[in-house]
Symmetry: C2
Subunit: 70 residues, 2 copies
């Protein structure tokens, strides 16, 4: 399987946004801090809607936050 994998810049973006805690990001996105932690750690693929909301918090296009890489 020529597998690509999902990576993200959430941790970096949180720190650039004044070291925003996972819990604060979760609250602004509408999910729990555990969900943010899991997504940030790449434990599973979030819902597209969830991904768009995370990008929205950082004021970035989705593809600046999540990457689909080899």
């Amino acid at each position: 399987m020529a597998d690509r994998q999902l990576t993200n810049e959430i941790r970096t973006l949180r720190f650039l946004a004044g070291e925003m805690p996972q819990a604060d990001l979760g609250q602004r996105v509408g999910v729990t801090r555990q969900t943010i932690a899991a997504i940030e750690a790449g434990k599973y693929s979030p819902t597209l809607e969830c991904a768009f909301r995370i990008a929205e918090v950082f004021g970035k296009p989705l593809e600046d936050v999540f990457h689909w890489e080899r």
Copy 2:
């Protein structure tokens, strides 16, 4: 929750790609035709990974296929 909603250009892109059937797209993405039909109809928010794979089939960036709109 969100006053924004997820829309997509899948149907248009399928037709531009030689009227590719939902079943063919599903096979290339690795999901069933019912899943493609449901996503195309906006019945639910796909996994981010699934969204990236669909965009990849059309050779487009994800944000050319899915939109997060008011």
